[in-house]
Amino acid sequence: MKIELKLFATLVQFLPENSDEYPIDQGETVQSLLGKLGIPEEDVTLYFINAARAYLESEIKDGDRVGLFPPVGGG
């Protein structure tokens, strides 16, 4: 099972090379994905799966496009 991973702003440093086909396990959640990527939970404020807002416990499925966005407030 593979997903497309999109990381924004300061999270780009955690982007794996295989982000277009990032392997996931059965029952993968946003929270377990953050653990795999080594991203501290407090660094991410917005998660989305296929253009809908998601949550830490949201399950990720094969072929999903998953985005992670940090706090951003500059102007």
């Binding site: 999109k6 924004f8 702003a9 300061t10 404020t45 917005l46 989305f48 253009a51 809908a52 807002r53 985005g67 966005f69 940090p70 706090p71 951003v72 407030g73 500059g74 102007g75």
Partner: protein, 279 residues
């Protein structure tokens, strides 16, 4: 007996060949200013009257038909309350005054500093250490004296926000940092007006439209430690996010469907990706 506004507009109208073909009546910026002065009215009122009589203010001629005559009237008769006159705010003000939104109330309690010069349209070496609100007033009167501009040289807070938003049609979140954004969103809900918001860090940013009582980016983003502290705010990203915010604002004021209602458009200019997500 003194003449009516309507008569004065017709007297000063000039028939020209329109850029889109055919002929039409137009009225110059000088004529608008003199009629406004003669009748003790702000220029935007005269401009709206002219449009209602099918006389086109020359200054808005090239808005057509991207902005139709009816839409231009709506904009001239609208009022926005914009919080922030920094990076996003300076660009937004420039677009609002050139487009022709009749009444603008804008607040910022900050003075310019040298590190603003990379992106803040109202800043220049001449006004370092001077109030951003003063620069907003000067710029508006310089570019479009038809606009009724009111500037507040203060940082708004939950106590002052209701007065600031009073009698305005829309709230604009052009704040820097996350600290006051949620308070503004809540005040807009209390005032029963839509909020257009946007922010960025580096080459990444977002824009959203929040209808009263709905969830918005400020509910999600938290209050501190945001990415712009390390990634900064480069000029093209600031201007781009401001352009998206201005466009959504015009759509709402002209009663066109706003594309980002209860959504966020996430922009990554470095990798050129655009994602609209429901929140």
């Amino acid at each position: 007996m003194s003449s009516s506004i309507k008569d004065d507009i017709q007297d000063q109208a000039i028939r020209i060949s329109l850029p889109k073909g055919g002929e039409g009546d137009t009225i110059s910026i000088d004529a608008i200013a003199s009629i406004a002065k003669m009748h003790g009215q702000p220029g935007y009122v005269i401009e709206a009257e002219a449009l209602k009589d099918s006389v086109f203010p020359t200054r808005y001629l090239r808005n057509m038909d991207g902005i139709t005559s009816d839409e231009q009237i709506r904009l001239l008769e609208s009022s926005v309350a914009q919080v922030g006159l920094g990076g996003l705010g300076g660009n937004l003000l420039e677009m609002f005054i050139r487009t022709g939104i009749g009444r603008i109330r804008a607040a910022d309690g900050d003075n310019f500093e040298e590190s603003n010069l990379n992106r803040q349209a109202l800043s220049s070496p001449d006004n370092i250490d001077r109030p951003k609100s003063d620069a907003g007033l000067v710029r508006t009167n310089q570019i479009n004296p038809s606009i009724a501009i009111e500037t507040w040289n203060e940082y708004l807070n939950p106590q002052s926000l209701p007065d600031f938003l009073a009698n305005c049609d829309i709230a604009i979140d052009a704040l820097g940092g996350l600290k006051t954004r949620l308070a503004l969103q809540q005040a807009a809900t209390e005032a029963h007006i839509p909020l257009v918001t946007g922010a960025l860090a580096g080459w990444t940013g977002y824009v959203g439209v929040v209808m009263p009582g709905q969830l918005g980016p400020a509910d999600i983003m938290g209050h501190d430690n945001a990415a712009e502290e390390t990634l900064g705010c480069p000029s093209p990203a600031v201007t781009f996010i401001a352009s998206l915010m201005a466009t959504e604002t015009l759509k709402i004021l002209t009663k066109s469907p706003a594309s980002l209602t209860n959504k966020m458009l996430l922009v990554d200019l470095k990798h050129l990706t655009f994602e609209t997500i429901s929140i």
